[in-house]
Amino acid sequence: MKKFMNRAETLVAESLAGFVAAHEHMVIFGADRKFVRRRSLRPGKVALISGGGSGHEPMHVGFVGRGMLDAACTGHVFTSPTPDQIIAAIRETDGGEGCLLIVKNYDGDVMNFEMAAELAAAEHRIATVIVRDDVNPGGSKRSQGRRGVAGTLVVEKLLGAAAEAGWRLDELSALGEDLNGRIRTMGVSLSGVTVPDTERKTFALNEDEMEMGVGIHGEPGRARVKFAAADEIVETMLEAILSDLARDRGDKLLLFINGFGGTPVSELYLAYNSARARLQSLGVTVARSLVGTYVTSLDMAGLSITVARLEERELSLWDAPIDTPVLRWGG
């Protein structure tokens, strides 16, 4: 494992320090460097806080800024941040309108954010949206259900725009819950990842194998299958996504191709091209697009496809101005 690092113990802190310095006009560290927040908080709006383990960069810190998040808490690699970080972020960003916590559905994240919410509940109005965009991993009913993966970016962008527009805490919370039914993601991996602490690959694949249905923590997926042509891979993934996504004719779709860290952007665009053609052949129009390396799993080679079914209201929220280190558009 060759990584640009000094020591495994300080890797997350050093990288975060670099991130904050490189974007110092937009973001600053919160108290004790427990989180990263917008340089200028806007009073009178609900505060949006997200976070999770590191290893998914540029998510979430890259989404801190006008029109998206107010603060992001980062844990160790693939390890949820701890409640003290989340509580500190709540204290520093809640301007009186309450806090919305956006949490990916992993037991660790859910439990840590939950403990933070319980401990801060006496002094703050808090609501939580748990993002569950992963296609149904086919597990039994009793399993913990869908993971929160790349679709988290979509949820955070839409809620961020809504919060900026003055939506109240309960309205945001309702929108977040509603979005969970309309965003689906599926991931494919061409390689395991090396967690810096352990210096070992999470799994090994042969030259002609891939893992289908992976999440963003280097864990193996649903099934190990034969590597195939891009069109074939995309078709399989879209089929799983569309059959898991309640759908009306005439829906406006957002198509988001996300790289896991080790895949060149040219391949992502090739997959986008393939996915868009496939959707078109099914009579579905792509109304909005995003292609890039946003929600990663360290240096994993692979990508995920996210399809979101958006109504007019959400299309406007998607188009609304955004100014963060990573996503930037509109006036």
């Binding site: 690699v77 693939f78 701890t82 660790g108 840590n112 086919g138 597990g139 399993s143 070992r200 999470t202």
Partner: protein, 206 residues
């Protein structure tokens, strides 16, 4: 058997727990790599090191208060799934022991704490988690089994997770592919139970 003072007992337990986790961290991460994200050993070690750093302060506290404080330290340092779970276990045990003015039996306090852990984790018996060690350990405590026996039972319970299909935690995403591996959280729980039993056996009156 050496009877030790209360402060030395807490300090000694902390030291023993820290040591067993440090010695087994790689193994625990190895188990986690098979069905999770490969960091359980690292997470637990970070937590136990944080507790160890405060052992002098902790040793001054009453047992219930010490348990609660250790739980909070674990919550704030471990992160991931294990932090809130082990944290809730200790915090709740401590609070139950404290709240009842010493009236509550240890077995009952443990039971309530384990229930809190299950609620936190939305987990049930057989889900292939550390609860699959906690439940049998509690059962042994209830029937006042000897320390050596509890220790053995914890080990046996952990190894039984080998055959289980994970229903919670990251391992659940593997579905059937989670079968055939020991759960890392169950393993750490068995290791801690064993080292605590052994320490108590050596240093405490029966």
């Amino acid at each position: 058997m050496v009877v030790v003072a209360h402060a030395a007992l807490i300090g000694g337990l902390i030291e023993a727990c820290r040591e067993v986790i440090a010695a087994n961290a790689d193994h625990l991460s190895e188990l986690d790599r098979a069905i999770g994200d490969g960091d359980h050993g690292t997470n637990m070690r970070r937590g136990l090191e944080a507790v160890y750093a405060e052992r002098n302060r902790l040793a001054e506290l009453t047992l219930p208060k010490a348990l609660e404080e250790i739980g909070l330290i674990l919550v704030m340092s471990v992160g991931g799934a294990a932090g809130p779970l082990y944290g809730t276990l200790l915090i709740e045990t401590g609070r139950q022991l404290a709240g009842s003015n010493g009236q509550i039996e240890f077995a009952r306090a443990l039971e309530l704490a384990i229930t809190a852990v299950a609620r936190r984790g939305r987990a049930s018996p057989g889900d292939k988690t550390l609860l699959d060690v906690l439940y049998p350990v509690h059962a042994e405590v209830v029937r006042r089994a000897g320390l050596a026996h509890i220790c053995e039972e914890a080990e046996r319970a952990a190894s039984l997770t080998f055959g289980m299909r994970a229903m919670r935690g990251r391992a659940a995403f593997l579905g059937d592919r989670s079968v055939g591996h020991v759960d890392p959280g169950a393993k750490s729980c068995a290791l801690l139970t064993a080292v605590i039993c052994r320490f108590l056996e050596e240093h405490c009156p029966a």
